[in-house]
């Protein structure tokens, strides 16, 4: 089944860059706080555990995508579960992608209005972000991915510069005592590391059929996810070693607070804008792919002729819901801490597992009939 809605093709290397951007995504700012709140000074162990737990999930997606290399998630959901149930699952995923992108835009908006531009109305920030995303969506998948390729060296360079500048401030004693509360808090912390950087990559199941595959595609995907995981591990470790577990868990944006601490010879200081730049870049690409997955999912579900003509209504809808998604930042953080991880896991693990089982069952049925 060759997909007619998207004509663009991306390479394995481009996909890998996209995965690194999406893994870092919004997590670079919110993850240290969530993991430290759950696992205190052991949050860095949670980061390792979360990255390891993500591997079977990635295998599950690759197994599913490998069985239908020419189809996206919406197409094989319909093919495996039938027109009605499959259509419902496809619509459900589209709504999920929409709300992930809504949440990401809101996070960006809140960050800008809390930390950088407190006088600017939240909705103005949302509108500006949405216009850039709409521009990217109008260009299509290739345009988004090529932009990510263009920004990638800057992203890595700034991130490395930030981490190097922080090394004189590292205090390894902040990691002690280790395992003081047992394994349970570490498991709790690993839930967030599994979910926010990795489980939300499920939107890539809408992108996989447009990747020009080579022998190294699987290796590239795993390598990219590992690099993303390593970045997240380093950011969490540095947050703990510089700020300590108490400050990391109580800061809204610990990585931003981390960058504020940089002071080299009273000359190089106030470099927190670097963090903002890195975060805006990675969140932009994550949001764009989720928005793209939503539009493509809607177009697949309703058998529409093109997804691009729905960008206008999408922006209008997104503008409203980005503001309405949460009454305040505290409610949103609470949802992120307690409920959203399970929604992500349902969509990243449970439903793909159901689809894989449905695939096995349909193969068995075909074999029996034969």
């Amino acid at each position: 089944m060759k997909n007619a809605l998207e004509k663009g093709r991306i390479g394995s290397r481009q996909l890998a860059i996209l995965i690194i951007f999406m893994t870092v995504g919004d997590s670079i700012l919110i993850l240290p706080s969530l993991t430290a709140r759950a696992a205190s000074q052991d949050a860095w162990i949670s980061a390792i555990a979360g990255c390891l737990l993500a591997l079977p999930m990635l295998w599950l997606w690759m197994a599913l995508a490998g069985r239908y290399p020419q189809s996206n998630l919406a197409e094989y959901a319909r093919g495996l579960l039938g027109k009605r149930a499959g259509g419902f699952v496809s619509l459900y995923y589209s709504i999920y992608f929409f709300f992930v992108s809504t949440g990401l835009i809101r996070e960006l908006g809140d960050f800008f209005t809390i930390q950088i531009m407190p006088e600017t109305p939240l909705r103005a920030v949302h509108l500006l972000i949405l216009l850039v995303i709409a521009w990217g969506l109008a260009g299509g998948l290739e345009a988004i991915v090529r932009t990510s390729e263009l920004f990638f060296p800057w992203f890595i360079l700034l991130l490395l510069a930030l981490l190097i500048c922080l090394t004189p401030l590292l205090t390894p004693d902040n990691l002690k005592p280790m395992l003081s509360e047992g394994v349970s808090p570490i498991l709790h912390g690993s839930l967030y590391v599994l979910v926010y950087p990795f489980a939300e990559l499920v939107s890539l199941l809408m992108v996989f059929p447009y990747v020009a595959r080579s022998r190294s595609t699987k290796r590239d995907i795993l390598l990219a996810a590992s690099i993303g995981g390593l970045i997240m591990f380093t950011v969490i470790l540095f947050s703990l070693m510089v700020l300590g577990s108490y400050l990391t868990s109580n800061q809204v944006y610990p990585t931003y607070a981390l960058a504020k601490k940089i002071n080299i010879g009273s000359f190089l200081q106030r470099v927190e804008a670097v963090v903002a730049f890195v975060w805006v870049l990675s969140t932009f690409f994550k949001t764009s792919i989720h928005s793209y997955a939503f539009l493509l999912g809607i177009a697949e579900t309703f058998k529409l002729r093109s997804y691009r003509r729905f960008i206008g209504p999408f922006v209008l809808l997104q503008f409203g819901l980005t503001y309405l998604i949460t009454p305040n930042f505290a409610f949103y953080t609470d949802v992120l801490f307690k409920y959203w991880p399970f929604w992500d896991l349902t969509n990243a693990v449970l439903l793909p597992l159901v689809l894989l089982l449905a695939h096995s069952a349909s193969r068995k049925r075909t074999a029996l009939k034969a």
């Binding site: 759950a38 709300f99 529409l304 206008g312 209008l316 409203g320």
Partner: protein
């Protein structure tokens, strides 16, 4: 009120530029989805523009996962 008028104007221009062409080409399904999304967009954007109170859609996620989350957090002794 200006916000509401701007939203109506934008939606009106969008509809004027897209919907008649879809109807001319008899793309009724596309036209229906387009109208539905635009209508939803107008409603939600109006709420946002006029700062009218609206229940957060995330409350649905909370309602769906609260029993399981509460059980898991208490069973594992996780900080809530």
């Amino acid at each position: 009120m200006i916000g509401f008028l701007v939203i109506l104007l934008i939606a009106g221009v969008m509809i004027f530029l897209t919907l008649p062409a879809m109807l001319r080409r008899r793309e009724l399904r596309d036209a229906a989805v387009y109208s539905l999304l635009t209508l939803g967009g107008i409603v939600f954007s109006t709420f946002a523009a006029l700062l009218l109170p609206f229940p957060s859609p995330l409350r649905l996620v909370v309602a769906a996962y609260k029993p399981f989350a509460d059980w898991l957090f208490s069973a594992m002794g996780w900080k809530g």
